[in-house]
Protein backbone atom coordinates (compact mmCIF):
# COMPACT_ATOMS: atom_id res chain seq x y z
CA UNK A 1 0.00 0.00 0.00
CA UNK A 2 1.10 3.52 -0.72
CA UNK A 3 1.79 5.84 2.18
CA UNK A 4 2.52 9.54 2.39
CA UNK A 5 4.30 11.02 5.41
CA UNK A 6 4.49 14.64 6.44
CA UNK A 7 6.56 14.77 9.59
CA UNK A 8 6.22 18.49 10.40
CA UNK A 9 2.74 19.24 11.77
CA UNK A 10 3.23 22.98 11.91
CA UNK A 11 5.60 25.74 10.76
CA UNK A 12 5.68 29.50 10.83
CA UNK A 13 7.65 31.91 8.71
CA UNK A 14 8.00 35.65 8.25
CA UNK A 15 6.59 37.32 5.20
CA UNK A 16 9.05 37.38 2.26
CA UNK A 17 11.06 34.46 3.64
CA UNK A 18 11.51 31.09 1.96
CA UNK A 19 10.11 27.97 3.56
CA UNK A 20 10.40 24.27 2.70
CA UNK A 21 7.74 21.70 3.50
CA UNK A 22 8.85 18.08 3.56
CA UNK A 23 7.09 14.94 2.38
CA UNK A 24 8.16 11.34 1.95
CA UNK A 25 6.23 8.53 0.35
CA UNK A 26 6.42 4.83 -0.13
CA UNK A 27 5.33 2.87 -3.17
CA UNK A 28 6.30 -0.08 -5.30
CA UNK A 29 4.83 1.52 -8.42
CA UNK A 30 7.19 2.78 -11.10
CA UNK A 31 4.92 5.42 -12.60
CA UNK A 32 3.05 7.77 -10.33
CA UNK A 33 2.19 11.38 -9.63
CA UNK A 34 2.84 13.56 -6.62
CA UNK A 35 0.99 16.68 -5.56
CA UNK A 36 0.90 19.50 -3.08
CA UNK A 37 -2.56 20.75 -2.20
CA UNK A 38 -3.33 23.89 -0.21
CA UNK A 39 -6.34 24.46 2.06
CA UNK A 40 -6.67 28.10 3.18
CA UNK A 41 -8.66 28.73 6.37
CA UNK A 42 -12.36 28.05 5.74
CA UNK A 43 -11.79 27.73 2.01
CA UNK A 44 -11.62 25.00 -0.58
CA UNK A 45 -8.64 22.76 -1.11
CA UNK A 46 -6.78 23.63 -4.30
CA UNK A 47 -3.91 22.11 -6.23
CA UNK A 48 -0.61 23.98 -5.85
CA UNK A 49 1.78 21.89 -7.89
CA UNK A 50 2.05 18.50 -9.56
CA UNK A 51 5.01 16.25 -10.45
CA UNK A 52 5.09 13.22 -12.72
CA UNK A 53 7.53 10.59 -11.44
CA UNK A 54 8.94 9.91 -14.90
CA UNK A 55 10.04 13.53 -15.31
CA UNK A 56 13.47 14.32 -13.93
CA UNK A 57 12.89 18.06 -14.01
CA UNK A 58 11.41 19.50 -10.85
CA UNK A 59 8.06 21.22 -11.31
CA UNK A 60 7.71 24.94 -10.67
CA UNK A 61 4.67 27.23 -10.47
CA UNK A 62 5.62 30.85 -9.90
CA UNK A 63 6.83 31.05 -6.26
CA UNK A 64 6.27 27.35 -5.67
CA UNK A 65 8.78 24.68 -6.63
CA UNK A 66 9.45 21.11 -5.67
CA UNK A 67 12.54 19.08 -4.93
CA UNK A 68 11.72 15.59 -6.18
CA UNK A 69 14.21 12.93 -5.13
CA UNK A 70 12.88 9.71 -6.63
CA UNK A 71 15.48 7.36 -5.17
CA UNK A 72 14.96 8.78 -1.70
CA UNK A 73 11.17 8.92 -2.21
CA UNK A 74 11.17 12.52 -1.10
CA UNK A 75 9.01 15.34 -2.42
CA UNK A 76 9.46 18.70 -0.73
CA UNK A 77 7.73 21.99 -1.54
CA UNK A 78 9.61 25.27 -1.48
CA UNK A 79 7.68 28.50 -1.18
CA UNK A 80 9.74 31.56 -2.05
CA UNK A 81 8.91 35.11 -1.01
CA UNK A 82 6.18 33.92 1.37
CA UNK A 83 2.99 35.96 1.41
CA UNK A 84 0.25 36.26 4.02
CA UNK A 85 -2.08 34.46 1.61
CA UNK A 86 0.15 31.39 1.79
CA UNK A 87 -1.15 30.76 5.32
CA UNK A 88 -2.94 27.41 4.97
CA UNK A 89 -2.86 23.69 5.56
CA UNK A 90 -0.64 21.98 3.02
CA UNK A 91 -1.15 18.37 2.05
CA UNK A 92 1.20 16.15 0.12
CA UNK A 93 -0.58 13.54 -2.01
CA UNK A 94 0.17 10.59 -4.28
CA UNK A 95 -1.57 8.61 -6.99
CA UNK A 96 -0.56 5.72 -9.23
CA UNK A 97 -3.35 5.30 -11.79
CA UNK A 98 -1.69 2.38 -13.50
CA UNK A 99 -2.04 0.48 -10.24
CA UNK A 100 -5.74 0.21 -11.04
CA UNK A 101 -7.28 2.98 -9.00
CA UNK A 102 -7.14 6.73 -9.50
CA UNK A 103 -7.67 7.62 -5.89
CA UNK A 104 -5.26 10.00 -4.16
CA UNK A 105 -3.56 9.16 -0.90
CA UNK A 106 -2.93 12.20 1.29
CA UNK A 107 -0.49 12.92 4.08
CA UNK A 108 -1.63 14.24 7.44
CA UNK A 109 -1.00 17.82 6.46
CA UNK A 110 1.08 20.69 7.74
CA UNK A 111 -0.17 24.01 9.03
CA UNK A 112 1.85 26.92 7.65
CA UNK A 113 1.49 30.37 9.15
CA UNK A 114 3.03 33.37 7.42
CA UNK A 115 3.52 36.25 9.84
CA UNK A 116 3.66 39.92 8.85
Amino acid sequence: AQTVTQSQPEMSVQEAETVTLSCTYDTSESNYYLFWYKQPPSRQMILVIRQEAYKQQNATENRFSVNFQKAAKSFSLKISDSQLGDTAMYFCAFTAPQGGSEKLVFGKGMKLTVNP
Binding site: Q44, K103, F106, K108
Partner: protein
Protein backbone atom coordinates in the same frame (compact mmCIF):
# COMPACT_ATOMS: atom_id res chain seq x y z
CA UNK B 1 -14.24 26.87 -13.73
CA UNK B 2 -15.06 23.53 -12.20
CA UNK B 3 -17.58 23.80 -9.47
CA UNK B 4 -18.12 21.17 -6.82
CA UNK B 5 -21.03 21.96 -4.57
CA UNK B 6 -21.75 20.28 -1.27
CA UNK B 7 -25.32 20.65 -0.11
CA UNK B 8 -24.68 21.64 3.50
CA UNK B 9 -21.77 23.50 5.06
CA UNK B 10 -22.81 22.68 8.61
CA UNK B 11 -25.06 19.93 9.98
CA UNK B 12 -25.96 18.87 13.49
CA UNK B 13 -27.53 15.44 13.89
CA UNK B 14 -28.46 13.09 16.70
CA UNK B 15 -26.92 9.68 17.30
CA UNK B 16 -28.78 7.06 15.29
CA UNK B 17 -30.13 9.45 12.67
CA UNK B 18 -29.72 8.75 8.99
CA UNK B 19 -27.61 11.44 7.34
CA UNK B 20 -27.30 12.32 3.67
CA UNK B 21 -24.43 14.43 2.36
CA UNK B 22 -24.88 15.50 -1.23
CA UNK B 23 -22.25 16.54 -3.73
CA UNK B 24 -22.77 17.86 -7.25
CA UNK B 25 -20.15 18.70 -9.86
CA UNK B 26 -20.74 20.53 -13.11
CA UNK B 27 -17.78 19.48 -15.26
CA UNK B 28 -18.74 16.01 -16.47
CA UNK B 29 -16.11 14.31 -14.31
CA UNK B 30 -16.24 10.54 -14.12
CA UNK B 31 -14.36 10.30 -10.83
CA UNK B 32 -15.89 11.44 -7.56
CA UNK B 33 -14.59 11.01 -4.05
CA UNK B 34 -15.65 11.37 -0.45
CA UNK B 35 -12.89 12.11 2.04
CA UNK B 36 -13.06 12.65 5.75
CA UNK B 37 -10.76 15.27 7.29
CA UNK B 38 -9.77 15.15 10.95
CA UNK B 39 -7.03 17.16 12.71
CA UNK B 40 -3.80 15.20 12.85
CA UNK B 41 -5.14 12.50 10.56
CA UNK B 42 -5.27 14.37 7.27
CA UNK B 43 -7.67 13.26 4.56
CA UNK B 44 -8.85 9.70 4.57
CA UNK B 45 -10.76 8.24 1.64
CA UNK B 46 -14.19 6.86 2.46
CA UNK B 47 -15.47 5.92 -1.00
CA UNK B 48 -14.54 6.53 -4.61
CA UNK B 49 -16.77 6.32 -7.68
CA UNK B 50 -15.34 6.07 -11.18
CA UNK B 51 -18.64 6.06 -13.08
CA UNK B 52 -22.39 6.02 -12.60
CA UNK B 53 -23.41 3.19 -10.27
CA UNK B 54 -19.73 2.20 -9.82
CA UNK B 55 -18.04 2.53 -6.48
CA UNK B 56 -14.94 1.40 -4.68
CA UNK B 57 -14.27 1.30 -0.96
CA UNK B 58 -11.63 3.59 0.38
CA UNK B 59 -9.63 3.25 3.56
CA UNK B 60 -12.45 3.86 6.05
CA UNK B 61 -15.78 2.73 4.54
CA UNK B 62 -17.24 1.27 7.73
CA UNK B 63 -20.42 3.03 8.77
CA UNK B 64 -20.86 4.72 5.40
CA UNK B 65 -22.47 3.97 2.07
CA UNK B 66 -22.64 5.92 -1.18
CA UNK B 67 -24.93 6.40 -4.15
CA UNK B 68 -24.06 7.51 -7.67
CA UNK B 69 -27.25 7.38 -9.77
CA UNK B 70 -26.26 10.29 -12.00
CA UNK B 71 -22.85 11.30 -13.23
CA UNK B 72 -22.92 14.71 -11.60
CA UNK B 73 -24.10 13.64 -8.15
CA UNK B 74 -22.39 11.55 -5.49
CA UNK B 75 -24.09 11.07 -2.15
CA UNK B 76 -22.59 9.91 1.12
CA UNK B 77 -24.95 8.18 3.52
CA UNK B 78 -24.51 7.56 7.21
CA UNK B 79 -27.12 4.90 7.95
CA UNK B 80 -27.00 5.44 11.71
CA UNK B 81 -24.86 8.37 12.73
CA UNK B 82 -22.50 7.96 15.66
CA UNK B 83 -20.50 10.51 17.62
CA UNK B 84 -17.23 9.23 16.15
CA UNK B 85 -18.47 10.34 12.73
CA UNK B 86 -18.32 13.96 13.80
CA UNK B 87 -15.93 15.38 11.23
CA UNK B 88 -15.36 17.50 8.14
CA UNK B 89 -16.43 15.72 4.96
CA UNK B 90 -14.88 16.74 1.65
CA UNK B 91 -16.21 15.84 -1.77
CA UNK B 92 -13.97 16.00 -4.83
CA UNK B 93 -14.13 15.18 -8.51
CA UNK B 94 -11.67 14.61 -11.32
CA UNK B 95 -11.32 13.48 -14.88
CA UNK B 96 -10.02 9.94 -15.39
CA UNK B 97 -6.42 9.56 -16.56
CA UNK B 98 -7.54 8.60 -20.07
CA UNK B 99 -9.26 11.99 -20.53
CA UNK B 100 -6.71 14.41 -19.14
CA UNK B 101 -3.06 15.34 -19.12
CA UNK B 102 -3.53 16.57 -15.57
CA UNK B 103 -3.89 13.16 -13.97
CA UNK B 104 -4.78 13.35 -10.31
CA UNK B 105 -5.98 16.93 -10.22
CA UNK B 106 -8.91 16.90 -7.83
CA UNK B 107 -11.46 19.67 -7.54
CA UNK B 108 -12.88 19.98 -4.06
CA UNK B 109 -16.08 21.29 -2.58
CA UNK B 110 -16.10 23.60 0.42
CA UNK B 111 -16.72 20.78 2.84
CA UNK B 112 -19.56 19.73 5.13
CA UNK B 113 -18.89 19.94 8.84
CA UNK B 114 -21.01 17.31 10.57
CA UNK B 115 -21.56 17.23 14.31
CA UNK B 116 -23.25 14.16 15.80
CA UNK B 117 -24.60 14.65 19.30
Amino acid sequence: DVKVTQSSRYLVKRTGEKVFLECVQDMDHENMFWYRQDPGLGLRLIYFSYDVKMKEKGDIPEGYSVSREKKERFSLILESASTNQTSMYLCASSLPARRTVNTGELFFGEGSRLTVL
